[in-house]
Symmetry: C2
Subunit: 246 residues, 2 copies
């Protein structure tokens, strides 16, 4: 892990860009430059837009988390931003656009090809990022995961015991295989669903929520479309992390 | 409205029993005996158990609300507690028990007979209670409605313009006619659903949530069975009222 830039957003948050091998990432830590105690960490799963496009939303979440005493970090997804494309996913994207333009149903084959290679490649990268982040003196446990592609968050919750609680955003296609994996999740979950999300299958999101094996799981469904998560829903997600990571 | 008893629960809450015609009720007001400013009001819809059996849960909600600066009030439902039975509902209850014991589906006819006469009779009573409560100097607007039989809350939200926001508990049978009425609801709603509620049809609850016409509506689904609403879900409902009634 190499830090490539560092600047203070204000007196409360230090932002540092880093690379982890070929993967770019950003770390935000709370407190003043010299005197911060180790902070619990929230991994911010980005949307598959690339970190540059997602930056305004990510930094808003990072500032909110820092105010609550959390460090946050994110890394570029495979195939996003300046990272090399994933050929299988590119083909699936083209098939998806073709199906939607023709008014045809999006098949399980397209969804699997779009999501599963991404999950398979991204999850070990997030685990490597976690190794590196937890070796920093300014980061302590416990660790939460928030947002991003819900299939990645689901797989991480299954395979990564260092993640203690997760906020998941049900806003992307979900392969049936991931719904089966979800039964093995046991950590506390807070799932956000935009009820009238035009690009998301509501029933699949409800099936996924139903499948999670966690004894504590909460679904918050709101109005406002895919990008219209209300401020109070973000606040509730923050309270969830404060309840579980502090 | 005649007050029949009065005692302080502690320095923060005054509890008064009253009758409104033949209907018993309870009013809880925050603040010290002499010096309370008019408080916004939350109507506490009781479960159809009778106020006496429901009292421990109601008073817990009343104390929580008083701490947030709200007065709360409830009245006995038609056919509950010491009030005269509703013959049609009694028959429907018997039919319901028979159907469930035989493992048969609960028909729309049974649900209609169980719920619709109760709604028709209860809603004007709650409106009369609201008239009386709002005439008290210690009660100010705005008014919220919380809990109880969701079909009563839905009808009240449609017909009673003095109710500004509602927390509804999706934990009882819902006639199809009420789902149609729900499309006319426009006030902000916060709907609680116990995901694995053994006595509640989840799909009907989701259909009802979908039907509400409100631009701001939130569904909070949690684990824990019918009576196991988690503490944090109660806190979130309280925050909803603070957002909308203060």
């Amino acid at each position: 892990m190499h830090f490539t830039s560092e600047h203070r957003l204000d007196d409360a948050v230090l932002e540092r860009e880093f690379t982890l091998g070929e993967i770019p990432g950003i770390l935000w830590t709370p407190g003043s430059a010299s005197s911060s105690a180790p902070a619990p960490l929230i991994l911010l799963g980005p949307p598959p837009l690339g970190l540059r496009k997602a930056y305004p939303r990510l930094v808003a979440r990072a500032r909110h988390a820092a105010a609550d005493g959390f460090a946050t970090a994110t890394i570029e997804l495979p195939g996003s931003g300046d990272r090399p494309r994933l050929p299988a996913a590119e083909q699936a994207h083209a098939d998806l656009r073709r199906a939607m333009a023709a008014g045809e149903p999006v098949t399980d084959e397209i969804i699997d090809a779009l999501i599963l290679p991404l999950v398979d490649k991204a999850v070990p990268e997030w685990q490597a990022a976690l190794d590196a982040l937890l070796s920093l003196p300014e980061i302590g446990g416990p660790v939460g995961y928030s947002g991003g592609v819900i299939s990645i968050g689901t797989r991480l919750a299954v395979v990564e015991p260092r993640i203690s609680a997760a906020v998941l955003f049900a806003g992307s296609f979900v392969p049936r295989a991931i719904i089966e994996e979800a039964r093995r999740v046991t950590i506390p979950l807070h799932v956000l669903l935009q009820w009238d999300d035009e690009g998301n299958d509501r029933q699949t999101a409800l099936d996924l929520f139903d499948a999670f094996g966690s004894k504590e799981k909460t679904l918050h469904a709101n109005m406002g479309g895919h990008t219209g998560v209300p401020q109070f829903a973000g606040d509730a997600a923050a309270q969830f992390f404060t309840r579980h990571l502090k």
